[in-house]
């Protein structure tokens, strides 16, 4: 009986989404440099909007979950940066300069909250309108598959120079059931991966040909 109960608890824990775990994790004081906190906040604020649009565009719950997770993460970072800034202030001049940092941090947090609102459109069931609008934007979001005959297979994103050669920024990779969000230059592409990337039509065409194996090198 106890065994069964325990198994149920473990099962429930495994089902707990990542964002909930982050939300209920105890906030412990860890000294992190203000610069690192702010850099991460800026990076999240840029990534999260693209992810939010992708979640709606491709009607995808998992991307929506990641947006939620990043939102919670952002709250924590915003809290940490306040504490760190307060501890760093010694004089009125310090405080004035640090207030500027906190204002930028607050703005980054505001952007991430907006991403959460965009995801709510997912529940509107009005994607056709949205897809039509987003298909006319300056930079669009695309979904591209990596084919096994492409030279990209088993290569690092950084070595392929995808972003500098095509202007396409990969924001997520889906490999079977796993998602890799915001892949860095050392992430390796595999056959049958699905990429979600942001860029222009021209960039998409080049990258698509390359990933289909129709183009041997990107240049």
């Amino acid at each position: 009986m106890i065994e069964k109960k325990r198994r149920n608890i473990i099962k429930r824990l495994q089902r707990t989404p990542k964002w909930k775990k982050e939300e209920f994790s105890e906030i412990e004081y860890e000294p992190t440099p203000v610069k690192d906190l702010l850099t991460e906040m800026k990076d999240i604020s840029e990534l999260i909007i693209d992810l939010a649009y992708s979640a709606v565009l491709f009607d995808n719950e998992e991307i929506a979950e990641e947006v939620k997770y990043l939102e919670v993460r952002m709250d924590k970072l915003n809290y940490d940066i306040r504490i760190m800034a307060m501890m760093a202030a010694r004089t009125k001049e310090d405080a004035e300069q640090l207030a500027g940092i906190l204002q930028v941090a607050q703005s980054a947090e505001k952007i991430s909250n907006t991403a959460g609102d965009i995801v709510l459109i997912l529940k509107d069931k009005n994607r056709p309108t949205l897809s039509r609008i987003l298909s006319k934007a300056d930079e669009k979001i695309f979904r591209i598959k990596v084919f096994s005959n492409s030279k990209a297979c088993k290569q690092k994103i950084g070595n392929l120079k995808i972003e500098t050669e095509t202007g396409m920024r990969i924001i997520a990779i889906r490999r079977e059931n796993i998602w890799i969000f915001n892949p860095q230059s050392d992430a390796i592409l595999m056959a049958n991966d699905w990429l979600i990337a942001r860029g222009t039509d021209e960039g998409f065409e080049d990258l698509d040909k390359f990933l289909k194996g129709k183009l041997r090198v990107l240049e």
Binding site: K35, K42, I101, S107, K110
Partner: protein, 193 residues
């Protein structure tokens, strides 16, 4: 000129608000008040567009051109853009204040995944006299031009018909390794796009 539809307005809000965030961070990086002021002006423009959109989409519903749900989606999307624009203005506000910027601000912008860069176009550069549409810098170097300074004139969010002249100062964003390529092109160190 054809009247802008509600969808066109939403699109304009989306594209402009994203440009504003880039401009706001650039203003911090280069301690540039002119760019920061532009962010302020753009925010006014967006408020204006947002008001127009709300009215316009309600009218469309009344005329039966738009369903209630579609109008709601448009408004929510526009609202998101408007909030992003607000956030950008708050970032620019830090630059416009009479307080010296904390060095960390500059460092954080520099160290992030997407870098911002500034370069002046040399008279021998291959970029001279060509339009952005011809050059396709975005898909060739990964760098997107977000603003330009032509003599005393500033241009924000240039489009594919914008021509680059010698002496222009380009502000761009993109990946770290794209930065060098763009600078080399502008400085006439390479002709290969």
């Amino acid at each position: 000129m054809k009247k802008k539809t509600s969808e066109d307005i939403v699109l304009e809000i989306k594209d402009k608000s994203e440009l504003m965030v880039d401009l706001a961070y650039s203003s911090l990086l280069y301690d540039n008040k002119i760019i920061a002021k532009e962010v302020y002006d753009l925010e006014d423009l967006i408020d204006n567009l947002f008001g127009k959109l709300q009215k316009g989409s309600l009218e469309d519903v009344q005329k039966g051109k738009l369903t209630v749900n579609a109008a709601l989606t448009l408004m929510r999307l526009a609202k998101a853009g408007e909030e992003i624009a607000d956030a950008a203005r708050e970032i620019a506000d830090v630059e416009l204040r009479d307080v010296e910027l904390h060095p960390i601000l500059k460092m954080s912008v520099q160290e992030s995944d997407v870098v911002l860069t500034k370069t002046q176009v040399d008279s021998r550069s291959i970029l001279c006299g060509k339009t952005l549409g011809e050059l396709k810098l975005g898909s060739e170097t990964g760098m997107m031009i977000i603003a330009m300074r032509h003599k005393n004139r500033w241009l924000y969010g240039p489009n594919k018909n914008t021509k680059i002249d010698r002496g222009d100062i380009l502000f761009a964003k993109g990946p770290e390794d794209g930065e060098k390529h763009l600078i080399n092109l502008a400085k006439a160190e390479t002709d290969e796009i």
